[in-house]
Amino acid sequence: MSSNEPERIAAVNEYAPKEVAELDLYQKREKIYTRSIEGFFQRIRLFTGWPLLVGYFFLPWTQWHGHQTVLFDLPARKFYIFDLVFWPQDLVLLAWTLIIAAFALFFFTSLFGRIWCGYSCPLTVWTSIFMWMEQKAEGSRNQRIKLDQVPWSTEKVLRKTAKHAMWVGFAFLTGFTFIGYFTPITDLTFDFFTGNADLTVYGWIGLFAFMTYLNAGWLREQVCLYMCPYARFQAAMFDSDTLTVTYDQLRGEPRGARRVNEGEKPKNLGDCIDCMLCVQVCPTGIDIRDGLQYECINCALCVDACNAVMEKVGYAPNLIAYSSESRVEGKPFHWLRLRTVGYGSVLLIMCALFIGALVLRETTDLKILRERNALYQLRNGNIENVYTIKIGNRDRNSHQYTLSVDEKNMVIIGETAVRVESGEELSIPVRLSLPVSAWRRRNFDVKFSACLADTAERSHCINQESRFTGPLQ
């Protein structure tokens, strides 16, 4: 045993990184100047980012059957999403939506790694836009680095002001639109600009605008690195076949600069020409050649950068590519794995159940509240119980309902035919009266039915039981 000891230590040393710098816990953030790049994956990012952005900004301005297409009306406790109207009772559906979203995330992460982070995360999308603005105002990467180094001048002030003005403007639009999902946006626009909106509205818009400005303008990758929990538990969904942005070390190393003569490779060097472009384009400021890192958001900017360079020097593409642990090791790739099949089937089952629950959802709510004072009353030879019946109509149309009970000797004293407007909940106090002669000396459940009386083709009843009590001897 002890004779092997020195060898083992040598082996460990061999794999240790070449430069080990001591990290200061209070390290200042080094500003990342990303180089803009074009390529196949950037076009995909454009196609995933734009619809989300356009959807976000224009959806609140559209109307759907007389209400804002998507409106989360908190004071009225009603959520409108296209044809669907959700009441607080439907909270469980919201919970399921979130659970399904989480499982969809797990499923796609186990297949493609953190594509959510790289393509669809609002922070990524908004940061891209802020970076684009930055570039319009301050120029390319090198110009920006230079601009930050030179002393303050009129031009620097102008360029910086222009950038922040654009950022603040876009952040305001973002915050304003966000609040527009909670207050009808046309009223909001009018009230906001005439100064009539509620103080809280200004506060919330200000807060969301400020947070957008802060997150997409200043914090950027720090949100992913230090705040986002998802960045930290992604590894739990990875397996050896998960696609991640990977640098082909076997092919690339040893890296080194070279004179490029077409078709001829220096024998002592790998394919990586050490141009550092992959580092310069990285929005989280890492070197992908160091291997899979928790900072990597799988955005493939470095893939595009490297492929462009490889094409220029005449090497084969995909030195950096979406690859997997097993692919790098030369093993075959499998689509069907425990994780993908597991997450996938759970996702499918949940989606099916959810859609079922949504389609079969009752649009009428029937609630029976027993009177809270006397359990029963004896009056003129009858046993009487009082109830408050609540009929809620979640449908888009108003409906006529007929109330009935399943006891043939029982009389309902009170309104039995009511019209409930769309989105209204009506309370109807009624008194059930049972002749003492029909009383069987034990309490029993009465079935109340509220039947839609206006639609002949949909003679549909909602039932609810409640207790009828009387004297027991």
Partner: protein, 299 residues
């Protein structure tokens, strides 16, 4: 709070505040060890002597300033009431007043209408029903049908009358229905007689002894014809409606022990607009005011 507990809280709060300031500022500077560690070693792990980040430090400073200001402006230091004189009760009252003002404006159009007209206004009656559910239903029942000791508001028997003015008066000023106990005045036989007289439907079979007791002791309030007196809330004893039960035992109990019915005054609890609307709702319930359209009873 007694002055001991007041002082106790003040002293504890001050100690905690001062202690926090001391801990915060005491850790502000490095101890000056040459190797910039604290000198603490655990299992060979040394602890760096780094100060708290500035943003964090200033956030604590701000919190302390906030805390001190809070204790100056608001009640927190024992019995000290704070510069603003704020109390929970006051805030609640202010919120209530604000809400009442809002509701008063919203109900103003209804307040201008007469109670008779309001009773025919479907929307007003929906609001009235809600007001009834939150303010009256606890005693009178959700459907206003009443229960033992609490009058039914849907029938035609009214203790104090069902004219608009009388209903408003009942709600706003409340009512006190007092029936004195008779067990020390009347003998058991007299009570039996008058009960028999009251519960015998057939006029020819009514016992004469009971009639005499009624005329002597009861007629002053309940009227000689026993049809009651709405001016003082004495119930009509000739109908089928018995507030405290119509069984012979119930009636005898009432005569023995008397009854104390109380309807609380609502003029300080509800704004006039609400009382007006409630009165209209109650008016609409009354069987005598429903002009032939009596309660809908359906199978």
């Amino acid at each position: 709070m007694s002055s001991f507990w007041s002082a106790w809280i003040i002293i504890l709060t001050t100690i905690v505040l001062v202690g926090l300031v001391w801990v915060l500022f005491g850790n502000r500077t490095r101890s000056g060890n040459p190797d910039s560690t604290t000198g603490h070693v655990y299992d060979g792990i040394e602890e760096y002597d780094n100060p708290m980040p500035a943003w964090w430090f200033y956030m604590f400073v701000l919190s302390i300033i906030f805390g001190v200001a809070y204790l100056i402006f608001y009640p927190g230091m024992g019995n000290y009431r704070g510069v603003l004189g704020w109390t929970q009760n006051m805030e609640w009252q202010q919120e209530n007043a604000k809400m009442d003002e809002k509701i008063s404006t919203a109900l103003a159009p209804y307040a201008a209408m007469s109670i008779e007209d309001l009773a025919k206004d479907e929307k007003a009656m929906r609001i009235g029903q809600r007001l009834f559910a939150s303010n009256c239903a606890l005693c009178h029942g959700a459907d206003a049908g009443g229960t033992k000791g609490f009058p039914n508001l849907r029938d035609s028997d009214w203790l104090y009358g069902d004219s608009p003015e009388k209903i408003v008066e009942s709600i706003a000023l409340g009512r006190k229905g007092v029936m004195p106990p008779w067990k020390s005045v009347l003998t058991e036989t007299q009570i039996d007689d008058v009960t028999a007289w009251l519960t015998t439907a057939d006029a020819s079979k009514k016992p004469a002894a009971g009639a005499q007791v009624f005329a002597t002791y009861c007629a002053a309030c309940h009227n000689p014809d026993a049809k009651g007196n709405q001016a003082m809330g004495a119930p009509n004893l000739t109908d089928d409606v018995w507030l405290y039960g119509g069984e012979i035992g119930d009636i005898k109990f009432t005569i023995h022990n008397g009854r104390n019915g109380q309807m609380p005054a609502h003029e300080h609890l509800l704004i006039p607009e609400k009382i007006h609307l409630l009165a209209a709702f109650v008016y609409s319930l009354s069987a005598t005011n429903q002009e032939g359209t009596s309660q809908t009873a359906q199978q």
